[in-house]
Symmetry: C2
Subunit: 357 residues, 2 copies
């Protein structure tokens, strides 16, 4: 049985609990996960023993090459899906409430028989996706390694006088040259006071001597994301900066140390926060400790203060505590990590020294 | 009055016809158009004499800098929006049905008073967006010019032996070096038989002598898209290729010639198709003649066979007929064009010769 077919069967095993007879999958990432299809437009109907993908003629050849379930190609995919569902007429049709617009919902409601109830479902496929198969872990490793190589290639070109935007453009270019589809998210390059903004966009600010440089970058390789943050310093850092860096690194290492199968995500977050609290820095840690990643850059689980999720062997997650002092600067250190039975494996090979250039 | 305030007033003037008292705007592009806010997460409530944007603390400083309406910053924006709507309690609240998920709809429905009816609206803001202001046209011009410059810089480096992916990476890099935010869509570089796929993705195929090369590229500058397709030939093209190129160019020029204020979009499409029909090529023209562009790469109007829209002065559109012969090859020529009272202005400055390299 193909990996995709196995995933569809695992999904169908959850139908009873979700009280549905079939699921209309409208998230393209979920469709890719369940079928291997990588086009930009598709619908998937999953029944207990059957699955049908519908796409448009742009993907006529591609869908037949990529997919091992029934495929329909139609210049008007939505009416084709409606016709298929009408014929199927399930009593309880699951929809992905987070991936279906009200507009499309209204269309389906009008097109389907009254006997079919539309049931909102949440995270049915996303929960499966959170545990990675060995094949997926291999791809994530390639994404992580490529990302670190792109970082190394770029670092050699960083010097005072170039802009944040120059560095970001070079990073994205290096990823592409190394074979990535592109960045997995908008690359963050922030220098000096800009490091205090956790989601800074690269600006025309010039890099200057004696300032911090934060680089948060991820690559997309065969659809899978990596994610890493590293800190650089132009010129020798002062004692205070070194101390701050050491505190964040301690928090990151402590969090990594707390990760293993069956540990609660919130417990890992708490370890990072407590480590920072011993140095009165916890109030500057304004986001959560990490998140799952895979076909999406942010997916289940989330490692935040109030998250209910439990870490499981095979989850790929980030660990990224940070401290941000407004108008002064910020420090974040982030790795991509694989949860294992007895602990975790840090996939990111890049050194975690504060890099002085 | 600011441009954004004017737009919100124009929008509110359409409330009566849409039978709504207020509109909840959930499309980020529409929010940018109505307020100037460029962050990645926001909600906007538009009332006849008032507007309130809600975003999260990441954008605390930014939203105050960019926006001239009331702004609320909340770590949990969705509950804050619900509370605001509850207080406002409009009898008929418009929602953007194409930009709201069933999940969020269900949340609003549960949170709002029973006396508030949720009314699905379509294209209220998008219709306003289809007519560009002089300021928007200036930005689109900059986007178009930058795009053509990135093309020129890349062409100098194209030679047999490099791959489609190499060319695409170079194009995207040139855009960034010239100051674009990035490509407005995934750059298409297709060589030889791959030119027959209208939406080919750049592959590892090597460019070879005596083949066609199709480049379809657009830049994003200050949020606004440009879009251009040009054809190159590695080595001297044969007579048949030259003829085919000439036919597509004739269709493109005829379509451009048909554009002016008050002309139906479908009529322009028909002109392109008829020109190709005189050479028995119309059956190879498998997509529509063009589309509006602006904050989105595809926006209103669409220039297809069955489209009802009428072209208006101030619309920015593409004109891009093409012919595609499976397993052989395809040719497309595309400009970005501005509709005027008496005709149109071709914004794209790049020559439309078949470029032999």
């Amino acid at each position: 049985m193909s990996a995709h077919q196995t995933r569809r069967e695992q999904l169908a095993q959850r139908f009873a609990e979700a009280k549905i007879d079939a699921l209309l999958v409208t998230s393209l990432k979920n469709i890719r996960y369940l079928t291997g299809f990588t086009g930009s437009s598709a619908f998937l109907i999953v029944e207990p023993d059957n699955a049908t993908i519908v796409t448009d003629p742009r993907y006529d050849i591609q869908v037949r090459q990529q997919v091992d379930c029934r495929a329909k190609v139609s210049p008007k995919p939505l009416p084709t899906v409606e016709a298929l569902l009408n014929k199927l007429a399930p009593r309880h049709l699951g929809i992905e409430a987070a991936h279906l617009t009200v507009h499309d919902y209204n269309r389906y409601r009008a097109a389907l028989p009254k006997s079919t109830r539309l049931i909102s479902t949440a995270s049915l496929v996303e929960t499966l996706r959170s545990i990675k198969s060995p094949e997926e872990i291999d791809v994530i490793r390639r994404s992580v390694d490529l990302n670190s190589q792109a970082f190394a290639n770029t670092v050699a070109r960083i010097k005072p006088g170039i802009t944040e935007q120059d560095v970001a453009a070079e990073i994205d270019h290096q990823m592409r040259l190394l074979g990535a589809e592109g960045p997995a998210f908008e690359t963050i390059v922030a220098a000096g006071p800009n490091t205090a903004l956790p989601h800074a966009r690269p600006s025309s600010k010039t890099l200057e001597n004696n300032e911090l440089l934060l680089i948060d970058m991820g690559s997309q390789v065969e659809g899978y994301a990596s994610d890493m943050t590293r800190m650089l310093h132009l010129g020798e850092p002062d004692r205070r900066t070194k101390q701050l860096y050491r505190s964040v690194l301690d928090a990151q290492l402590a969090a990594i140390d707390a990760i293993r199968n069956n540990v609660r995500a919130a417990a890992v977050d708490r370890v990072a926060r407590r480590t920072l609290a011993t140095r009165q820095l916890d109030r500057f840690f304004t986001h959560s400790t990490g998140h799952g990643l895979g076909l999406d850059i942010h997916e289940m689980p989330r490692l935040g203060r109030t998250d209910k999720s439990v870490l499981r062997t095979g989850m790929a997650i980030t660990v990224e505590p940070g401290v941000y002092v407004e108008a002064k600067g910020g420090i974040r250190i982030e790795d991509t990590v694989l949860v294992t039975d007895r602990g975790c494996q840090v996939l990111t090979p890049t050194s975690k020294e504060l890099l002085v250039i």
